[in-house]
Amino acid sequence: MADDKPDVARLVDEAAKALGLPIAEEYCANVILNYERSLMIARPLLEVELDDELIPGPVFRP
């Protein structure tokens, strides 16, 4: 499913514009690398299915 992979460089560029975060050219490669790393690390969370009723508390109490 190579076609499903996001174009992270473009995603970072457009999201940074939307957020008003200028990213100098010399930082771009590392921001993209870290975004890609985040996609990989987040995967186990994104694969979890949660019931609709499960809501986070506004103040977390352990």
């Binding site: 970072v12 870290n34 790393r37 694969e47 352990p62």
Partner: protein
């Protein structure tokens, strides 16, 4: 009993001798300042030393004021704690241009009310987004066990200062492992209390959802002394509990009778070097523990902790990322930038998953009072080391030193790190994890291990 003026002296030993009139607080502070001056060129634990303030406070203790359970004990704090009259660096260059703190952070005030004496602020990874103890602005804090190696972070200066015997007690913060990782790599006792147990007022935040403050020391008695002195509600921190303080020191010597102790399996039994698992096995044997429990979906918990950290951290620093990106540590800047751009849907899902995971993990505590797990996947890496091999796989050091700590702080469980000294090798810690607000049980287990000679701080 150690000489109260030596680097081997614990906080409890110092306080006992000061209160007993055998040594003055002034002499204790002078000795600490002398040790700091001698060690700093090598260790680089301190960014600020408040010598005159400490001497003034020592004179007050000797004049009969503040003669509490920590009388005369020198301590230092990670430089994200407010220190009156100083900018709160939080490991950054940018904050030095900000306002000076109008008063000390809440926990500094509480320790000083108990008689302890602040001697300075400690080095840390920039804005606490760090597991290494390295810092581009102030240099790395160096591991006293091998100064070519990392202290671990982000409370790197806290670990280094205590392990080098500069001070017997330091405060750190722990968002994803920042007390527990340096405790493990420097071979010290560390306490990350329950989320909300201790006030965070007057400290620079990182990730509100996970930020905890706590002590690092050379003995469990010192952890308990400091922890007890710092407990109590604080309206200045909306997360701080309204539960009454529960002193732990009176129970420290009660042993492990009646405590059901289990070993975390699955996620916590793979992905590390053999010494991490050998340490857990050694501790389990000493405690007579053999049952294994599984914290369900720990990998997803680690992922969710990562997502919440990246997004909250990125959002917090957005104004500085826009205005002064060139003044960030290169090792945090692009991670914060990437975090600021991650999808909001991830954040909400991570927070929803957090509640789900909490419910399932708390079920384990119906059957066990204590769960054991490795604190770090390896001993201290070399300074500057970028990649490490774990379980035969090359992975980045920076993101993975907290592999075993993140799924625990994610739901705010209290943890004591017990350090194992390995003859001929580097130390490594074991997490002693309890259910929320049961710090007492974790401290009792650590004290038992200390008494048995299984866990110990490094020789001073």
């Amino acid at each position: 009993m150690s000489d109260p003026l030596s680097k081997a002296a614990t906080a409890a030993e110092i306080a006992r001798t000061v209160l007993g009139g055998k040594v003055t607080a002034a002499a204790v502070i002078d000795a600490a300042l002398t040790r700091i001056a001698a060690a700093e060129p090598t260790i680089n634990a301190f960014t600020d030393i408040v010598a005159e303030r400490a001497k003034q406070r020592a004179a007050e203790v000797d004049a009969g004021k503040h003669r509490g359970p920590l009388a005369g004990v020198p301590f230092a704090v990670k430089n994200l704690f407010d220190i009156e009259g100083l900018p709160t660096r939080a490991g950054s260059k940018i904050n030095v241009d900000g306002p000076k703190a109008a008063r000390d952070g809440a926990l500094v005030r509480k320790l000083e009310a108990a008689g302890a004496i602040l001697v300075g602020g400690l080095n840390m990874g920039e804005y606490a987004y760090d597991f290494t103890g390295e810092n581009a602005h102030y240099g790395p804090s160096r591991n006293p066990r091998d100064t070519t190696r990392m202290t671990g972070g982000s409370s790197g200066g806290s670990g280094a200062a205590v392990a080098a015997g500069e001070v017997p007690l330091a405060l750190g913060s722990d968002t994803n492992g920042s007390i527990r990782v340096p405790s493990s790599l420097c071979g010290l006792f560390g306490l990350k209390p329950t989320y909300g147990r201790l006030s965070r007022a007057g400290s620079f935040p990182f990730v509100d959802a996970f930020d905890h403050l706590g002590p690092i020391a050379r003995s469990t008695e010192d952890l308990a002394l400091a922890f007890d002195a710092m407990q109590g509600a604080d309206p200045d921190d909306p997360v701080c509990t309204h539960l009454p303080p529960e002193p732990t020191l009176p129970h420290l010597g009660e042993g492990i009778g009646g405590l059901r102790i289990a070993i975390a399996g699955d996620y916590f039994a793979r992905g590390g070097e053999p010494e991490a698992f050998e340490a857990v096995a050694t501790v389990a044997k000493a405690l007579g523990a053999s049952e294994t429990v599984v914290l369900p979906q720990a990998a997803a918990a680690r992922a969710a902790a990562y997502v919440i950290t990246a997004i909250e951290g990125g959002q917090l620093h957005l104004p500085r990322l826009r205005a002064r990106p060139q003044d960030f540590d290169p090792d945090t800047r692009e991670r914060f930038m990437a975090g600021a751009l991650l999808p909001g849907a991830w954040y909400v899902k991570a927070q929803r998953f957090r509640r789900h995971y909490r419910v399932n993990v708390l079920k384990i505590f119906d059957e066990a009072d204590i769960v054991l797990a490795p604190a770090t996947p390896c001993t201290a890496p070399k300074l500057g080391q970028v990649m490490m091999k774990l379980g035969g796989v090359d992975i980045p050091v920076r993101a993975n030193l907290g592999l075993f700590t993140q799924p625990i702080s994610f739901i705010g469980l209290p943890v004591v790190v017990a350090p194992l000294q390995r003859p001929g090798g580097l130390p490594i810690g074991v997490q002693i994890i309890a259910k929320p607000f049961n710090e007492q049980a974790a401290l009792r287990v650590a004290a038992f291990l200390e008494k048995q000679g299984v866990a110990a701080a490094p020789p001073a």
